[in-house]
């Protein structure tokens, strides 16, 4: 069995719901890309965790379970979409067949002299039908099909994960430097993360840059689950109908204890 090594970093963050200071373990792995890359190989993921302070086994296991949960969530989302799209694709095929038949039959049975305006009207509606109902579902079919096959392969071949303490001294120093920087600064939450991201960029700590970028994007978003998935606007309906549902790829994070200097 192949062992895939992945890194996790314990980075400073602020609490979300009712406040508080805690650190967050961030596993530097993108689930969709991982599945596409290693889905076909029987493998196990070994997470090397770099933290400013030593972690107990309970805390390490929390990271492992966060990994499992994020994968499970992604698998569930893909499976749900597969069930929905089965019929959505059928709709596309039926529409495609009708459109093709109409396109051909119009020319077959067209009496002479035919009305050019009627043809224009037909072409206009075919355009909507063919592009909206056919090409887009066809594209989604191919794309989602490959994702679903990848996920199915990965479910069978991914044999869980184990978390160990990282031993690379350079990476350990990086998380320590992030902690030191965090203990020196204060300000608005987004501002704090922005400053930490810039600091990480200067250090060449790309995983932390990705993590803070994602956090800032999450916080800036003026959207909720309800407004995303329960919208009333026609535009949103049309967009979702033609572009399909996008499966959100979860990030793997787990809350850790407060490790601030002097805490």
């Amino acid at each position: 069995m192949k062992i895939i090594d992945v890194n996790a970093y314990v980075l400073p963050t602020l609490g979300r719901i009712s406040g508080g200071l805690n650190y967050t373990a961030y596993v530097d792995l993108e689930i969709d890309k991982h599945i596409m890359k290693y889905g076909g190989v029987e493998h196990k993921v070994r997470i090397h965790c770099y933290s400013p302070e030593r972690l107990s086994r309970g805390e390490l296991e929390r990271i492992a379970r966060a990994f499992d949960n994020a994968f499970s969530r992604y698998f569930a989302d893909v499976e749900k979409n597969r069930r929905i799209y089965r019929y959505w694709r059928l709709m596309g095929i039926i529409a495609y067949s009708i459109a093709t038949f109409v396109a051909i039959s119009s020319y077959l049975f067209l009496p002479h002299p035919y009305n050019i305006y009627a043809v224009c009207v037909d072409v206009f509606f075919f355009h909507i039908l063919i592009f909206g109902h056919c090409f887009r579902p066809l594209y989604r079919w191919l794309l989602d099909g490959s994702i679903e096959r990848g996920v199915h392969r990965a479910i069978k071949r991914l044999k869980g994960c184990e978390v160990v303490e990282g031993e690379d001294r350079g990476k350990l120093r990086l998380v320590e430097m992030m902690r030191e920087r965090f203990s020196e600064i204060d300000g608005g939450e987004i501002n704090l993360y922005g400053r930490l991201r810039d600091y990480a960029r200067n250090l060449g700590f790309q995983a932390a840059v990705r993590f803070y970028d994602w956090l800032i994007k999450e916080l800036r978003e003026e959207e909720s689950f309800y407004t995303k998935y329960n919208p009333a606007s026609l535009w949103r309906r049309i967009k979702l109908y033609y572009l399909g549902f996008k499966v959100e790829v979860p990030r793997i994070t787990a809350p850790m204890r407060n490790m601030d200097v002097g805490a």
Binding site: N22, F71, W88, S105, D186
Partner: protein, 635 residues
């Protein structure tokens, strides 16, 4: 495949087996079940404990898991299914059916068979009927899928392989707190605020539930009420005053009135009332505010007002902390008071022309517990956990029972009010007040007689975050609405009985017209509406979010059967809606407007970083003060 659960220490009671059921746990469990099926594995439970010792726990864990699953599965799967059916309703291409379908059908009929009309007819027929059948099929498919998953999870839990006990230092620390503390409530409050620090934020909710001082009685229905031997008397509490000192302020030209450099880390450290109170006292001393102790709670916490300023042009009241679980308001007041330590461009003018009263926390215990206080008709108080109040889904069964008894003559919101004996302390203001705490606050306000008041609130929590996460500040202009306008509004917002009328009433443009007409009538009577506009403009100028876009649409139509609780009149601005009239709810600012003609506003902030929530409140209040004093018109 493994699943993580917790063994949570409690005070003077056996430890509790706790599963973190966040809103999406079902999705994760569903994926987990798929994996178990595919890999032909069995489930292992990892139990995080304080000491890592396992003693014959397997059977208990298995039974506990199944119990929890059976108890919650209906609720959770119903919520998920409801969300999913909305999500799936997106697939219904209504515009295709209603526009293209008839067009093609008509075209087919007019053009006839020979000119290609048959094909048009076919397309029209498909668009009208066929697509819809497939959409219905999809909805059925997804419902079946969830039922399959439910039974799968049940199977997985029954076929549990083993239970692994693992030590977690955070749980050890929580256990130490439980052993060390003498008082149960204090122990749970300390544990609640330690959860974040030890990296177990998901346990906060559990300690919130456990912290309340008394046993909750809010679920008792209104079929009579207990007679207490000694009811709490409403003797007026003797207010204490501490004289102000003369402050010395440093000039800060960059600041207008309040300081918007807010430290999120600093605010997060003030999670209990004691910590907040210490900072408030320090700030009050530095700015030379007069301290008035309005009331003292049973546990010895002071409810204070801090008055500052020598002018009589305006009497300004800034109030917060009515609901303990909403921390941004009290923190915003602290930030306002700290801002007055320095002299901004308008500080001197504002303080020389007005008198400002800051009332940071109405419910100190609730602030520490992150709980919601309820008051019953005898004036007794109780604290409820954040998710367990009368407005949560837990009361659904009772509500259903009442609805059956009621046979539909009462509004569901009215039923909810009848189902609970304890009411929100924000809705019991007026002449018939029974709670000594509210009576004391009322007495103080009668003496202060504000001309401008803002009450700072929040809407946060797990379920609220699913709906409102990322929304900006919302202002509710609590002006007293005369009965004749109320009646008119109620008629306008009533659900039409005729099907066609109901369909037309859903159209946005008609609703907007109705709303505008109403607002025009109202504005003719209350010209001060422009102050609200200036305040919202000030919030936007300061770079904070305002309640708008998709969120604003939620207000117009909260639920298919219910009239709106609030009616939007502008971006981020609302007035009380017919739902509140029906319930005869009079919140504190509405009472102030009715009693003294005070220009009263309630603000709601939503799930955003704490510094942004505080900043939104600050900007709103600053805009209001500058506008009413005519210092800055906001134009």
């Amino acid at each position: 495949m493994k699943w993580l659960v917790y063994r949570v220490p409690r005070k003077d009671e056996p430890d509790l087996f706790y599963i973190d059921l966040h809103p999406f746990w079902f999705l994760e469990a569903e994926g987990m079940y798929t994996e178990l099926e595919e890999r032909k594995e069995r489930l292992t439970i990892q139990l995080l404990t304080a000491d890592g010792k396992a003693e014959n726990i397997e059977k208990q864990v298995k039974e506990g898991l199944l119990d929890t699953f059976y108890r919650d599965k209906k609720l959770i799967s119903e919520v998920l299914k409801r969300l999913l059916s909305y999500y799936l309703s997106l697939l219904d291409p209504l515009w295709l059916r209603l526009f293209l379908g008839p067009t093609f059908l008509a075209s087919g009929l007019i053009r006839g068979y020979l000119s290609g009309g048959a094909a048009d007819f076919l397309i029209g027929l498909y668009l009208l009927m066929g697509n819809n059948l497939l959409v219905k099929r999809i909805v059925k498919e997804i419902r079946d899928y969830y039922e399959e998953v439910e039974s799968g999870i049940e199977k997985a839990l029954k076929g549990l392989e083993r239970v692994e006990c693992i030590e977690h230092p955070g749980l050890r620390k929580l256990k130490e707190i439980m052993e060390r503390a003498k008082d149960k409530t204090e122990a749970y409050i300390e544990a609640l605020h330690t959860c974040d620090k030890v990296g177990l934020p998901e346990l906060k909710e559990f300690y919130c539930y456990s912290a309340p001082i008394t046993e909750w009685r809010y679920r008792e229905p209104h079929l009579g009420f207990p007679l207490y031997d000694e009811g709490r008397s409403i003797e007026s509490f003797k207010r204490r005053r501490r004289a102000a000192t003369k402050p010395s302020r440093m000039r800060d030209e960059e600041m207008e009135l309040f300081d918007f450099n807010i430290g999120a880390k600093y605010l997060y450290r003030l999670s209990t009332y004691r910590e907040l109170h210490r900072e408030l006292e320090l700030a009050a001393e530095r700015i030379g505010a007069e301290k008035i102790t309005v009331y003292e709670t049973e546990r010895g916490y002071e409810i204070n007002a801090y008055e500052i300023g020598d002018g009589d042009e305006a009497r300004i009241l800034i109030k917060a902390g009515c609901h303990g679980r909403e921390p941004a308001g009290p923190l915003a007041i602290l930030q306002m008071m700290r801002s007055l330590e320095r002299e901004g461009r308008y500080t001197d003018e504002v303080l020389s022309r007005s008198r400002i009263a800051f009332m940071p926390v109405d419910d100190p215990e609730g602030y520490s517990m992150r709980a919601w206080m309820g008051v019953d008709m005898a004036g007794r108080e109780e604290h409820w956990p954040p998710q367990g109040g009368p407005y949560s889904l837990q009361g659904e069964a009772e509500l259903l029972a009442l609805r059956l008894l009621n046979r539909g003559s009462l509004h569901p919101a009215q039923l909810l009010e009848y189902a609970v004996r304890f009411r929100d302390p924000n809705v019991v203001w007026g002449d018939n007040v029974k709670s000594p705490r509210i009576a004391a606050l009322q007495e103080y306000l009668e003496e202060f007689r504000p001309t401008f008041a803002v009450d700072l609130h929040e809407t946060i929590g797990k379920m609220a975050d699913l709906i409102y996460k990322g929304a900006g500040i919302l202002s509710i202009e609590n002006f007293y609405i005369p009965p004749e306008i109320r009646d008119r509004l109620e008629n306008m917002m009533k659900r039409p009985e005729n099907r066609l009328a109901r369909y037309l009433s859903k159209r946005r443009i008609l609703r907007r017209l109705l709303g505008l007409e109403y607002v025009r009538t109202l504005m003719a009577e209350i010209p001060e509406f422009e102050i609200g506009e200036a305040m919202m403009r000030h919030v936007a100028e300061k770079g904070f979010k305002v309640y708008r876009g998709e969120y604003q649409k939620l207000l117009d139509k909260p639920s298919p059967d219910w009239p709106p609780q609030l009616i939007s009149i502008d971006v981020g601005r609302t007035i009380d809606g017919p739902l509140l009239f029906k319930l005869d709810i009079r919140v504190c600012p509405a009472w102030l407007h009715h009693r003294f003609g005070t220009l009263s506003y309630t603000t709601e902030t939503f799930q955003n970083p704490i510094d942004e929530r505080v900043g939104e409140d600050l900007a709103f209040v600053e805009g209001g003060i500058l506008k009413i004093l005519g210092i800055k018109d906001g134009d």
